[in-house]
Subunit: 576 residues, 2 copies
């Protein structure tokens, strides 16, 4: 039973579903549906795909998440960053607008979904932890900027392409003379309207005494209003004949399920792109889920979330959609609107399905500039440079990770950006631990405490040097320790005892063990004893499985104080 609930969390919340829950979920579903329709169309455009694919990606995936998800309020569907990554990945193997391009995007969702399912069944959720906070923050900010710039072409009605800032800027600059004035007007008016709705409308409505809940709902309706308005204008004036790019005819009705045509599934480029998209999407989704969960004391299960997102992506693929994940803005809206259970997602799916059935014929006149404006306003909220300042003052290595992620994402595109961020944060972490802080410690008079002699006045002896290594000993820092010890013994001719205080050593791997053996041998030859103190249980267990303790020409002491006391009383030369 437990394992059934684990794999199907719906059995858990579903069994105690109440009438009150239904009210909250239905209202939230209505609001999210209104918000999701223009967003879905816009992100399909961002991914370079026909707009109806955005709607398709907002139906079955939501049903899948309702069945498998552990967050009560997460809302899945197409999101900005993943759509941009889809465009980059698919654009590198297929021509924009071709059937092959569409098939590749669908395959990408399938590979990504299967990969997430696999990770989830293997319980590999911890992998996402290797994306450090500075890398994710830098990546999201840089992607937001890239996306905003990429949409300028729709606003101006020109052709432009590129996966990174220099290419986009060059391409926009070349096309700027062909800008269509009517398109530009629609785009700019849309942009101004959406910015007004987002930043000022709530204040205005409150001023007129409109209730708080209605205000919230009206503010979220901004995108759908501008979609309807601009579509009506374009239809009335037949703007498509005046050079304004519109969506054009799209097939009416629901997507048909398809389980074939995935011959792109084994393409190596798609595979590596799918892995990146999966991990980025997963990290984004889990961090949204955790943030919202914390507000209501609800936990999410990271491994089960892999299963849920995997199922959502497979569902997207078989219903003609593209890669999806849990989005920040829609989940917050869902949460604020009072969603109580994942059933809200199910109702949203019904809402989108109804809209797809009824309204798709009406979308033919929707100007692309309107969708471009919608995207820009949505992604500008992602751009947040405060992480740069924060890391600068807190830690220079984190700062380097942020800056390299931002710069490489902007200059070389999303895939290289996120990869270099991961490599940079791992490399910086290894570099730091490869040159650990090694403090010479001495006794604080009147206590049993040993402290860094450079920070505290402490008692030492010319015959004894006590070193505290503030890092686990492993291959990357073992020879650093060796060099430090040899430097010290070459400087102190009276030295007879070296005590390694191991309170901060959580592990000694075999490379470090070999180095300790070498240090022990070298010190023995020089007539110096090597002692250990405060060795932790697990480390001592490992040492006891090796020959090291038999070769050690000194002792292992429980505490540093006992070590120095024993050595001194043996020597009878040094007074504590």
């Amino acid at each position: 039973m437990q394992s059934k609930v684990r794999l199907l969390p719906i059995l858990d919340w579903g069994s105690s579903y109440k009438r009150d829950d239904l009210t909250g979920d239905l209202l939230a579903a209505l609001i999210v549906t209104i918000m999701l329709i223009p967003q879905s169309l816009a992100y399909a455009l961002l991914a370079g795909l026909p707009p109806q694919m955005g709607l398709y990606a907002s139906i079955l995936p939501l049903v899948a998440y309702t069945l498998f998800g552990t967050s009560r309020t997460l809302s899945v569907g197409p999101v900005a960053v993943v759509s941009l990554m889809t465009a980059t990945a698919v654009g590198s193997i297929a021509e924009a607008g071709s059937v092959h391009y569409i098939e590749a995007a669908i395959s990408l969702a399938l590979i990504s979904g299967l990969f997430l399912l696999l990770l989830g069944l293997l319980r590999f959720g911890f992998l996402a932890n290797f994306l450090s906070h500075p890398v994710v923050a830098g990546f999201i900010t840089a992607s937001g900027l890239l996306i905003a710039v990429s949409q300028l072409k729709h606003l101006a009605g020109i052709q432009a392409h590129g996966d990174n800032l220099p290419e986009l800027a060059h391409s926009l600059w070349q096309g700027v003379s062909n800008a269509n004035f009517i398109t530009l007007s629609i785009g700019m008016l849309g942009l101004l309207f959406l910015i007004f709705v987002r930043s000022k409308l709530a204040g205005v409505l409150r001023y007129f005494g409109i209730s708080e809940s209605l205000t919230g709902m009206l503010c979220k309706a901004g995108p759908i209003v501008i979609v309807i308005l601009s579509t009506l204008v374009a239809w009335y004036f037949q703007l498509d004949e005046k050079g304004v790019a519109v969506i054009g005819d799209i097939p009416a009705g629901l997507p048909s399920l398809q389980f074939s045509g995935f011959e792109n599934i084994f393409s190596e480029e798609l595979f590596s792109a799918a892995i990146l998209i999966s991990i980025i999407g997963y990290v984004e989704s889990v961090s949204v889920g955790k943030t919202l969960g914390a507000k209501r004391r609800q936990r999410i299960d990271p491994d089960q979330e892999l299963v849920a997102l995997g199922a959502s992506n497979v569902a997207s693929a078989v219903s003609g959609g593209f890669p999806v994940t849990g989005g920040f803005s829609r989940s917050v809206v869902n949460f604020d609107a009072g969603a109580v259970t994942p059933a809200a997602g199910f109702f949203t799916a019904i809402g989108i399905a109804v809209a797809t059935l009824l309204f798709t014929p009406w979308l033919a006149y929707l100007p692309k500039a309107t969708l471009g404006a919608t995207i820009i306003v949505a992604v500008i909220a992602l751009v947040d440079f405060s992480i740069i300042k924060k890391t600068w003052s807190y830690s220079k290595t984190d700062f380097i990770a942020v800056m390299s992620t931002i710069i490489i994402t902007l200059v070389y595109g999303v895939e290289l950006g996120v990869l270099s961020g991961v490599v940079a944060s791992i490399a910086l972490h290894l570099y730091k631990t490869s040159r650990p802080h090694i403090a010479e410690v001495g006794l604080i008079e009147g206590t049993e405490h040993f402290r860094n002699i450079q920070r505290h006045p402490a008692v030492t002896s010319p015959h004894i040097v006590s070193l505290r290594v503030d890092e686990s000993l492993y291959f990357a820092n073992a020879s650093f320790l060796e060099d430090e010890i040899y430097k010290i013994i070459s400087e102190r001719c009276e030295l007879e005892h070296v005590v390694l205080m191991c309170s901060a050593i959580n592990e000694i791997d075999i490379s470090a063990l070999e180095v300790l053996e070498a240090i022990n041998e070298r010190l023995s030859e020089a007539g110096i004893h090597l002692h250990l103190s405060e060795v932790k249980g697990p480390v001592m267990d490992a040492l006891q499985r090796s020959d090291f303790l038999r070769h050690l020409n000194g002792q292992v002491f429980l505490t540093q104080y006992q070590a120095v006391k024993a050595i001194v009383s043996e020597e009878q030369e040094y007074e504590i």
Copy 2:
């Protein structure tokens, strides 16, 4: 002056050079020269190059190391593993035996030399530390096996090729019916002779009362004796006309210096291969240098060694050689024969130069089978499976690193083998630190010590939980801590205080800081206080640069004992 000595260590030892030093160095040079001539020819054959290139690689590089090296007894030149890696790298871009192949090998030495020089000038010697001991040991063992198998073709006089064990085995199996009986006889006799010299000759000579030093010298002359014998036999019976592969005519005289013809230098494949060869060669050389240095209390400077090996490789390239490094067997021979300073290397270079001038015409009849036997006997000494047993009993993660390196090197070749070893050891290290040991600690009665309550009988309170995290907090393990804490608070309804004992936390990066902020917020909402104790100086310095301490809804205590005492005295409920 100091920096001159740093870059030219010869100014250091050269200024105090004595007559006694000269005697030791000259004798060592003689013995190493005798050993080096067949070895140089053999390793050139292993690299797929004309034999004279092995001699060329044993002249100028030794002079360069004499000028720049910091080890007194290291002997540079062609070595087995680097020669195999050269064959693999060059074989992937040029046809064996072609002029292009030779040029590529020379370019490889140049790129490798320049790369090492660059690393040395940047003082990047620490990079070698990322090759863990299990990876190096596994790699050397697997390479030794690969090399031995690859030489079977010369022993049997058949054609075979391949960069890994399955290819080699397949290729040998197909060619075995074409084996040349005379070649096989020469090869097997050579092999038996060399094995006898290596394992039994010393005992026999001692039995006949031959002096120890002469015995040592005679044992090292085994390869040169078999080279001379087999060459004479092949010449006398004109064995080349009977299908025995011989070296053939090679140009007499010293190599001419060349500073052009490096058009391959920008090939991407060569570049990545050169980086791998440089790092492997450097690690091998430095570990030999360190081992020998430790015996005479001489230190080597890892950064200056990069410069010295870089200069040696550049010297090899401009004199028509291929990549070189400090070799284990020749350095040990040099050391045992009494070399005192790097001048021994210079004298060895003169010895090889004289041999090149005088004897190259005589080498035309040298059977390749003899060189194959020389290589096999030399590399079998590298094969050492004891590391498998050792890591198995000490640490399973080190065991996985060894096994993956050995298996991938054997099955996929040297380049993938060493790369996967490095990736595996870094990944395993990160995996271990991503799930740190978190112990709940309690007070040992009658002391001020706090210990793991699962290992020791300790006093705890239902209102307080004290956790000791045995790892630095960074991006890879931050959310693991979060999950553990949330699990604990969801299980204990009476909890009012969480104390994080930070004695083993050497760093808190910004990802972990964000998680601590989130934990603090979550605990605050639940009415639970979060305290820290035993925070180290550098960690506290960093925390003070952030907002965390202002948001913290508990206190920071100097020691864990003070923390619990203060909390309890505030509550007046719990007796110590």
